[in-house]
Symmetry: C2
Subunit: 205 residues, 2 copies
Amino acid sequence: MAETGTGTTPPARRGRPGYDQETVLRRAIELFNRQGYDATSMGDLAAELGFSKSAIYHHVPGKAYLLEQALNEALDGLSEAIAAAETEPDADAYSRLRHAVAGSVRVLVDRLPAVTLLLRLQGNSELEVEAMNRRRELDARLTALVREAVADGALRDDLPPDLVSRLLFGMVNSLVTWVRPGGRYDADELASAITEIAFDGLAVR
Amino acid sequence: MAETGTGTTPPARRGRPGYDQETVLRRAIELFNRQGYDATSMGDLAAELGFSKSAIYHHVPGKAYLLEQALNEALDGLSEAIAAAETEPDADAYSRLRHAVAGSVRVLVDRLPAVTLLLRLQGNSELEVEAMNRRRELDARLTALVREAVADGALRDDLPPDLVSRLLFGMVNSLVTWVRPGGRYDADELASAITEIAFDGLAVR
C-alpha cells in the first residue's frame, strides 16, 4: 500500500511544500528568460508556481530580489572562473587566457539560465546597470589576458586586443542561443571546440 | 525671404511629409529592437513618429507588415551573401566558406537593425516561425560549406561540422550585441578579423 507524505519527506520549510526558495528562483529565471523580466509580474510567477498572488510573498520579498540572485549566480561564477585562470601557478599568459575561455564556457553551460538572463539585460534599472558594470569589469580582465598573451609573443599582434576579446567571448556567449541542458555536447566538448577554433584555427596547418 | 514647401521639395507622397514608408520602417525596427516587437503597439509607433493613432494606418497596413519587411531585409541579404559565396567561380570549398563568413559579416553590419531583430525572434507568431525556418535553411547551407571544406582536406576534421558552423556563425552573430553604426571598426575590418581568428587562429604559428 502506498504511503504519501511520509518516510523520506524533507524537513518542513517556509511556504508550500516542494517549493523552497531555490525552486522559486529556478522557475523565476525560466520565466524571466521566456517572457522577459520587465514583462513578468509577481502575479505571473505566482501563477507559474500555482500560488495565490499573496502567497508568493511568503517565499520571496520581490521580483528584483530574484533578479539580483540570478545575476549574482552568473557573475560570481564567471568572476571565479576568470580569477582561477588569472592566478594559475606556473602558467604563462597564453595558458591563462585559454583557461579563462574554457572556464567561462563551463560556467555558461552549468549556469545556463542565469547567464542567459545576464546576457540579455538592457539596463532598465539600477540593478541591471550594476550587473552590466560588473560584466564590463570581467570583460576588461579578459582583454588584459589577451593583451598579456600578445605581449608574450604567443598571440598574433595584428588585431586589436579589445576586438579579439569581444569576438572570442562573442563566440563563447553565443552558446546561450542554442545550447540546452542535456543537449548533444557537454561543457568540456564545447570548451575544447571553442578554444581549438579560436586559438588553433579551423584551417589545416 | 524664405519660401517653404517649394523649390526642391520632393514629389508629394502618401502620408505626412518627411515620413515615407521607408522612414516609418526604419523607426519601427528601432522601436521593436528597443522595447520588443510583442510589447510594441501601433499606438507606440505612432507616438514615436508624432502621428495620431489613426494616421499611422495611412502609412502602413499594420505591425506584422513592418516585421515582415524587416525580416525579409535581413534574410534576403544573408541569403544573397551565401548564394554569392556558393556560386563563386573557380573557388574551392575553403574559399567559398571564408567568403560566406565575410559576406555574412558585411550584411550584418550594413543591415544591423534588421538582423538584430531577426536574431532575437522567439517564434511567437507564424510569421516569426517562417523567418526562423528560413534562417535554419541558411544555417544548413553554411554547414554544408563547412562539410565540403572538411571533405576537401582544407578544414580540420576532428570537430563536427554542425558544431563548427554554429560556433563560427555564433561569433559572427555576436556582433549585433556591440557593433554600432559609425563605430570603431568598419564591416571589412570586422569581416577580416573574424575570418582570421576562426580560420587561422589566434596563436602564433
